[in-house]
């Protein structure tokens, strides 16, 4: 009997020929092409240079401000400024330290530790010994300061104010400088024309006439923009983080504690820029040659929403959440609460200093967890991005290319 030859197996599948790698090739081809195209355009360099210039100027102002001192003020309204506990008699550590002296006067250095245990929580009765309780209204503004007996609730402002200003600067710069001004204008100038300019110049058919869905072309063009914009922003962040870290207050050479907030600003700006790019590329397709006009109107809307958020009237109205910038700044707010443990106190103490510190927490969702608020904000931004990409894609698909 003759041995039966085994049936020929399925043809060996070359791993480099899967659908995914083919998609991948097209994606990199278009993204790469888009980035090279940017490099050849003067507008790209202009927008980039203006952005760098803005950031450098703001950082110079920051350095200038940090090298000047800060004036103290009376936070708790007791007529004393910078109530320095060390100038008082330190009973616990004095020669009378081990004597039994009862009464509130025995501890006056602001740490309240030498009080009788039952007295340590008198004053605000919050269940925590030697604690200061700051009460806030819904906008994060301090309405009252209530301390336990003998605790110093009025810190030294020449240090405190500097610290607070530094943080306010980081938040303000992150929100208005990066997230808003640069975050909206870079996509406005560079992403609006991604498809529209090709349509108008009559070169789109080179890309569209290839075996690749138009929806993919839009996605990969967007990818090319992101490939340019994200590293650009990352570079500006590194510069800003270095300058504020070295020139900021504190004893250490570099403020590593701020890296967390910079990371938050980075995430917020990346996602916001992506969302704006999706919005503008879609405007470019849908509105054609009026794309820039529509995009500008949108930018005005965003600015108006940011303004409302700043003056703090939108929380009740829930109107500001109808903007991209709102959700980006929510990510920064959440990061501030996560990264700076004493953020509540800081923001409470510095009402007069900076809007950036107290415009926190507008989330229309009933949550008190900054982490949850951050996750919600990220998801909302991604949904906005996806929504506009889908609108752009379906409009692009139906578009005739004359």
């Amino acid at each position: 009997m003759q041995p039966i030859a085994p049936p020929p197996g399925p043809p060996k599948r070359n791993l480099s020929e899967t659908v995914w790698t083919k998609l991948d090739r097209k994606a990199t081809a278009i993204a790469e092409f888009t980035m090279r195209q940017y490099r050849k355009k003067r507008s790209t360099w202009t927008v980039g240079a203006v952005g760098v210039l803005l950031v450098v100027i703001v950082l110079l102002f920051y350095i200038d401000a940090m090298s000047e001192g800060f004036e103290s003020e009376d936070n708790d309204g007791d007529g004393l400024i910078d109530e320095d506990p060390s100038s008082w008699t330190d009973w616990e550590n004095s020669q009378y330290a081990n004597r039994s002296i009862s009464g509130p006067m025995s501890d006056d250095d602001g740490d309240c530790l030498d009080l009788e245990p039952w007295m340590r929580d008198t004053g605000n009765s919050d269940g925590i010994d030697c604690n200061v309780v700051y009460s806030y209204d819904r906008n994060g503004m301090v309405t009252s300061v209530s301390s336990d007996m003998n605790v110093d609730e009025d810190p030294n402002e020449s240090e405190f104010l500097e610290e607070a200003s530094h943080r306010a600067f980081l938040l303000g710069f992150g929100k208005f400088g990066f997230l808003f001004i640069l975050g909206i204008f870079v996509p406005l100038f560079l992403a609006t024309g991604l498809i529209r300019d090709e349509m108008e110049s009559g070169t789109l058919h080179y890309l569209v006439g290839k075996p690749i869905a138009r929806a993919e072309i839009l996605m990969y063009r967007l990818l090319g923009f992101v490939g340019l914009a994200w590293p650009y922003f990352a570079g500006l962040f590194v510069l800003s983080a270095l300058v504020t870290g070295f020139f900021g207050p504190g004893e250490s050479i570099y403020r590593f504690s701020d890296l967390g907030i910079w990371f938050g600003i980075l995430i917020a700006t990346f996602l916001t820029v992506l969302a704006y790019a999706a919005v503008f590329i879609t405007f470019g397709i849908v509105a054609g040659r009026f794309g820039v006009l529509v995009a500008l109107l949108f930018a005005v809307w965003e600015f108006f929403m940011m303004f409302l958020a700043m003056i703090g009237v939108t929380r009740e109205m829930g109107l500001a959440s109808m903007s991209v910038s709102f959700w980006g700044s929510e990510i920064i707010n959440s990061t501030a609460w996560l990264v700076w443990g004493d953020y509540a106190m800081m923001s409470g103490q510095t009402i007069a200093i900076d809007i950036a510190l107290w415009t926190v927490w507008y989330s229309p969702f009933p949550t008190t967890s900054p982490l949850l608020n951050m996750v919600i904000s990220i998801v909302v931004l991604l949904i906005i991005t996806a929504l506009f990409v889908l609108i752009g894609q379906s409009s692009f698909k139906k578009r005739e290319l004359n």
Binding site: R25, K26, R36, H205, V208, G209, K210, I212, R214, L401
Partner: protein, 330 residues
Amino acid sequence: MMPDFDQVGEGQTQQEWQKPPAAPAIMVDHVSKWYGQVIGLNDVSLAISGGVTGVLGMNGAGKSTLLKIIVGRLRPSQGQIRLFGTDPFKNPAPYHRLGYVSESEKLYDWMTGLDFVTTLARLHGMTRDEARARAEHVLDFVGLSDVGNKEIGKYSKGMRQRVKIAHALVNDPDLIVLDEPLQGCDPLARTTIMNVIRELGAMGKTILVTSHILSEIERITEQIVILHNGRLLALGNLHSIRELLDHIPHRILLRTPDPRNLGRTVLPHPSVYGVRFPTPEELIIETNSLSEVHQDLPRLIIESGVEVTAIENPDDNLQSLLGYLIGGRS
């Protein structure tokens, strides 16, 4: 035939399960296209598979509209278009087998020719290396290999046309659609491009090429489609179309120092029914069978012993062809 999902046991023969025959490369089915009140194409039906086909028409006849609909840039207002059986406006799959050279002269001037073709080759799913090798190959094919590394912005018009053709050939397409590929080229570039198109035709590809100049198309192919005011006027072999119009007189113009002597020799020919002398140096022969006269003309000229400096067919251009086809209306 639908498969028997319900399992009721209706017989299905082998023949019913046969694959449908391969779809034609281009199938245009009662396609009309209008832009507002203006009609671009009016009920055009056409199926093309194999060979080189010339699409002829005056400016504004609807050639570009037809081609744009064929390659899926425009959607027909009415009717259907199928490329290899698929609607190209909805599905980019047929682009795997299509090369399209648009009439637009816009190119990415900042790219080099090689970069341009390589980048677009990668959109066919090739790897970087494959794409580059293919790009070099097609640039060589259209005769641009020595300027491949120059920026397209520095190319001459003929080079720009050829780089457009190169990009269309990079995926080794079965169907090539060229919209006015000879427009604005100098004679040398024209010849090169015509040779390229003929060569591609000889390779067995389906080629559709538009032009408004009859003599250009004649040098490439005999299979033509004539469009006029958005309508399909005629379709088939160029010379058969001409032969069909035999009742309409054709004219042959001869330039000679002694037209009267030559006229005397030619007049007895059975197909010739008249001669005219528009100038002392010219002779016009009127005939209803161009081919027969052309066949005998060299012999007659030798017989007459008259020197002839030029022979022209003044009617053999698109304008007069159209004139005949629409019977004086235009």
